[in-house]
């Protein structure tokens, strides 16, 4: 390992990520054996390629709170997915150090047939917590999510607000080194949004946060640094006030 890298929690080096949009029926079959065999059958016309990220490099230091902004389809979520190893780059390298708590989508990892209590344990385990850790944090999670009364109700009966509160709380209390948050603030009432922001604030003081949002006020209040993405490329990266101003001017 290189010496310097310990300061970085996340480092992207010339990362390119493409998605193949297969149209041909046997596209997947040939993709699977890509290389010699694939090139024989692969008709380029059948596959269009969507470039989600184009040659991107950046570093995020420990303790940074970084916002990612950009229009829909700019590649924001792809960055989060690369950081959390859900998907892998086609070119370049992604390095991440430490435990990740990713909240990429509302309710991912929650199962609607299970009760609130069962879901806390399941989602906690998905996020890499041990049973003991969940036991210790259980009351805090329930308090934060404000679902005490419905703890033993299957969550298919929950309102969407309760759903997102539950998801966010488990994620926030799994004690990650790096918290990834994608657009949680689109749902939930104002009161809960304020609570989330407060939680992320206190988190940002000691750990690292990467926050994707269209809510510029929320980004401004939490993040010191912002990455502005445009069609898979980094437009600007820097001080949040300036970058946000630039972004709003472009609109």
């Amino acid at each position: 390992m290189k010496k310097k890298e310990n300061n970085f929690v996340v480092s992207f080096e010339n990362v390119t990520k493409t998605y193949k949009i297969s149209k041909g029926k046997y596209g997947l079959l040939t993709e699977m054996f890509s290389g010699t065999l694939g090139s024989v059958f692969n008709n380029e016309k059948n596959n269009s390629i969507h470039i989600a990220l184009k040659n991107i490099s950046f570093n995020i230091k420990k303790g940074d709170a970084v916002g990612i902004i950009g229009r829909n389809g700019a590649g924001k979520t792809t960055i989060l997915k690369l950081i959390s190893k859900i998907t892998y780059p086609d070119k370049g390298s992604v390095n991440v150090y430490g435990k990740i708590g990713a909240f990429i989508e509302l309710g991912a990892g929650l199962h609607h047939e299970l009760t609130g209590r069962e879901n806390i344990y399941l989602y906690g385990a998905i996020l890499g917590m041990t049973r003991k850790e969940i036991d210790e944090k259980f009351d805090e999670i329930v308090d934060f999510a404000e679902i005490k009364k419905f703890l033993d109700t299957p969550i298919k009966k929950y309102s969407s607000g309760m759903y997102s509160r539950l998801g966010f709380s488990v994620c926030a209390f799994c004690d990650p080194d790096l918290l990834l948050v994608d657009e949680v603030l689109a749902v939930g009432d104002e009161n809960f949004q304020r609570k989330c922001l407060k939680k992320m604030h206190s988190f940002a003081n000691e750990k690292t946060v990467i926050f994707v949002s269209h809510n510029m006020d929320a980004i401004k209040s939490i993040c010191s640094k912002v990455i502005y993405l445009d069609r898979g490329k980094i437009q600007i990266i820097g001080n949040s006030r300036e970058v946000i101003k630039e972004y709003l001017d472009d609109q």
Partner: protein
């Protein structure tokens, strides 16, 4: 491979949690609940006893036909349940695969373990039947661990392979039930291996389930139609299937989230 095992160990609590989830969800909102785990092999046993034991008079030797059938349907039901759920496990948990990181093999593994829970439940009936038919309970029962572990490995290997293929080709969903049905008739479950004409018998041995099922039955009911060499071979085949399935799964794993 060493790294995979370390990571899997790190996520062992998740494997446990997802296995519990599988078991809970399968029987949620059913009236009979876990009893289904017992009813499935039991119902098949009754049907096969009537059709093959009474109508067609399949000769099961000294062993009464019901326990002859159940002793094979017990591991067979485990195999089919595990493979059917395992093959679909990655796609059915697509929302997890595209949103959260964890070693993906946990999904087929949890399907296999959940089916193993059913197997243990259904084993209780088997024990009762052994007592009812006054089959000697000897130390041989401990030897059952050999076919059971082999079947587990074989099943896990097949599930890994099919679940990875199913991500790309949803045809698997339709192929699996068909293959399992054919496979049942190609395995000495409802008929004894000895009833297969001798010159075709060697063909049966290309099917790994033949010696796995036969050795399970032999150890439980003290019959002697499988040789030590065959048992040894079935262990090797099971381990190889597991390793190949695992390798293939890991080779395809990285693109799961992009394709689902």
């Amino acid at each position: 491979m060493k790294n995979w095992i370390i990571e899997l160990w790190h996520f062992r609590e998740l494997l446990w949690a997802l296995t519990l989830k599988e078991i809970k969800i399968r029987y949620k909102q059913t009236i009979l609940g876990v009893a289904w785990a017992i009813l499935q092999p039991a119902a098949l046993t009754i049907i096969f006893t009537v059709v093959f034991g009474i109508f067609l008079k399949v000769n099961s030797g000294v062993v009464p036909y019901p326990i002859f059938a159940y002793s094979a349907l017990l591991p067979w039901t485990f195999f089919t349940t595990a493979v059917s759920f395992g093959a679909l496990s990655v796609v059915n948990n697509g929302n997890l695969v595209t949103k959260v990181y964890f070693p993906r093999e946990i999904l087929p593994f949890s399907a296999v373990f959940a089916a193993f829970f059913d197997f243990l439940m259904a084993s209780i009936i088997f024990l009762i039947m052994l007592l009812y038919y006054k089959i000697d309970l000897t130390l041989n029962l401990f030897l059952l661990i050999i076919p059971v572990v082999s079947i587990l490995l074989f099943t896990a290997g097949i599930s890994l392979l099919l679940s990875a293929l199913n991500v790309l080709f949803r045809d698997i969903r339709f192929v699996v039930p068909l293959i399992l049905q054919i496979w049942l008739y190609a395995t000495p479950v409802i008929y004894p291996l000895e009833q297969v004409p001798e010159r075709y018998r060697f063909l049966m041995l290309f099917n790994p389930m033949t010696s796995l099922i036969e050795s399970f039955r032999n150890f439980a009911l003290h019959k002697g139609s499988v040789s030590g060499g065959m048992i040894f071979l079935s262990i090797i085949v099971s381990v190889l299937t597991f390793i190949l399935g695992y390798l293939f799964f890991k080779y395809r794993e990285r693109v799961f989230a992009d394709v689902i």
